[in-house]
Subunit: 352 residues, 2 copies
């Protein structure tokens, strides 16, 4: 087994396990102190080992975004899974039934069609399916648009014998926690007046986790807080020293005194911008990647320099950590410069 | 085996083999008629079957971008491989030596350091390594910047006993074929006056392949011409009916009368923009994807409509086909709506 990162071929993904452990503990402590449950989104790491660690440290379960991810995590022994997605079509509903027989499961719906699909598919099952209603609190993606629509869906769920109303969820707009909060308060008022209990009020994302205030939210689904990244640092959710995922690269060309070309392109870093300038930061410097093609990253330095030289290795803090985990079959766990383990990214590429 | 695409789970990648076959034949005929060799870049498909078909139809060999891709293609029986990349570091050079013993291979260099690395690593081998000089003809990535630098590298290669000077190559700037052409002509003049033969003059990309004019280029390395995509259509390199790769998706939400949400996000389509507006076109319509998150695509229609409905399936022509092949473990080959085969994407994820 390779002993230090100097021996690794590039590009490859390094995960600093000391930072991971600190990030997980700090978030769990914050959740405990602020009276909300943590249900981490595993899309960021896609690794059963870290999902289990999150639960060991106090998370009530995990969040996944696709059935395939849920299946991988169930296979690995995770027992409480939230899949905040409209599951559509006969084949997927059949997979969902199998999964609901194996783990404590909840899904979402944002339309009568989706609820009707669940009701039909689960009509002959013993174990009911828990359904939360997805609410568009300003994010402009999925979700019912008004509290009245939420109430109508709750009623449809309530009259479906094998469905159970699990509460409300949202993926809030960026910096929109207070908007989501007002939306939820209005909807919950309406639901309670109609006789509904709302057991779970679930919201998302790492930046919001730290600015809970006097919140009605009972459960939060941050993902990136395990690794952080350039976007999260810009959002103030974490610092550079919290960034646990880096892409190790090699300088392969120095065509000019200011240009540095690395062997990691969009196939290693993705084209995700997320409001940043450039495609990632060289760790420990203020150098950013200016241009990215599939297999090359181009850095233009402000002043001419002999360094970095061809063959030097640079670690890149990506704009967006989650998408990196979907590109690599394996990641290296490190402590300092020492390699601790090499893990297959078990839930990588589970697109459906 | 599933018989038609109606039975497939989404999102998934469909490859229209009739369009592939027509695209390959048209390009080969153009190469033959215009007196250049075709050396297709397999990064677009990453499939040994299509690489072999390209060679069967007349390509002189293939191009790959990473050692790992070359190894997969060599394992699959491809025998003539060009790897236009600076191969840096002891481990990669050791892999390169093994590969050079197995297939007809050529690599590139753009610096004395890279050439010195090759010369050192290959000093004790029987079979020389063919090295082309990469030239920056305006693309601003790798490559020597002046014909004089090219001559100096050619001399360094010439005095290295186990290296063989293979010629010049470039990845030309977009719409920069004539600029590349002038650069090459000047460099070749210089090299010839210094006594060098320049056996290969290699240029890239699909749009340029069709506008060769009176060119000095002997070999072209287009990749995307096998599938085409939204960018290539915008560039005029092909038409919508040539687009062979689509992503099959399902409508999972209709939150408003104009908003349509699909189950394919950046994990299926990537965030590549390539100068387009939006993240892909719905095949057979003028609808484009406005917003992409990891697992959702959002379309905003110009006018309210009941259709498409939840559960309907849409095929997306992506902005950039090549990067899609790096996201999916398998692709479906189709003829019309009929599924002909399901192939593992053998060279997917070969990042190093």
């Amino acid at each position: 087994m390779t002993k230090t990162i100097a021996e690794l071929e590039t590009p490859c993904v390094l995960i600093d396990i000391d930072r991971v452990e600190a990030n997980l503990k700090r978030a769990q402590a914050h959740a405990d102190a602020n009276d909300y449950k943590l249900r981490p989104h595993i899309k960021t790491h896609k690794l059963p080992r870290f999902a289990k660690r999150q639960v060991e440290l106090g998370a009530i379960g995990i969040t996944v975004q696709k059935l395939g991810e849920a299946e991988v995590m169930a296979d690995a022994g995770l027992t409480d899974i939230f899949l905040p997605y409209n599951i559509i079509g006969a084949t997927k509903l059949a997979r969902l039934k199998v999964l609901n027989g194996r783990v404590t499961l909840a899904v979402t719906a944002d339309s009568p069609d989706t609820v009707a699909g669940y009701a039909g598919a689960f009509a002959d099952t013993e174990r009911p399916l828990t359904v939360l209603i997805e609410c568009d609190t300003g994010g402009g993606r999925c979700g019912v648009r008004t509290p009245e629509q939420a109430l109508a869906l709750a009623r449809q769920i309530a009259i479906s014998p094998r469905l159970s109303f699990g509460g409300l969820m949202t993926y809030p707009p960026l910096n929109g926690a207070s908007r989501a909060e007002s939306w939820f308060r209005e909807a919950i008022g309406l639901l309670k007046r109609a006789g509904f209990e709302v057991p779970v009020i679930s919201s998302g994302n790492t930046p919001d986790m730290w600015v809970t205030g006097d919140s009605i939210v009972t459960e939060r689904r941050p993902g990136t807080y395990i690794y952080y990244d350039r976007f999260q640092v810009q959002q103030g959710a974490g610092g550079w020293d919290d960034c646990a995922l880096t892409v190790l690269t090699t300088v392969v060309s120095r065509p000019t005194a200011t240009r540095v070309v690395l062997d990691a392109g969009s196939k290693s870093l993705t084209s995700d911008i997320l409001g940043q300038v450039g495609y990632g930061l060289v760790m420990g410097t203020d150098l950013t990647i200016k241009v990215l093609s599939e297999e090359h990253a181009v850095i233009e330095m402000a002043a001419p320099s002999d360094t970095p030289r061809i063959g030097d290795r640079l670690r890149i803090i990506p704009n967006h950590a989650c998408v990196i985990s979907n590109l690599f079959d394996t990641v290296y766990l490190i402590s300092g410069d020492r390699i601790v383990d090499k893990l297959p990214v078990a839930a990588r590429g589970r697109v459906d």
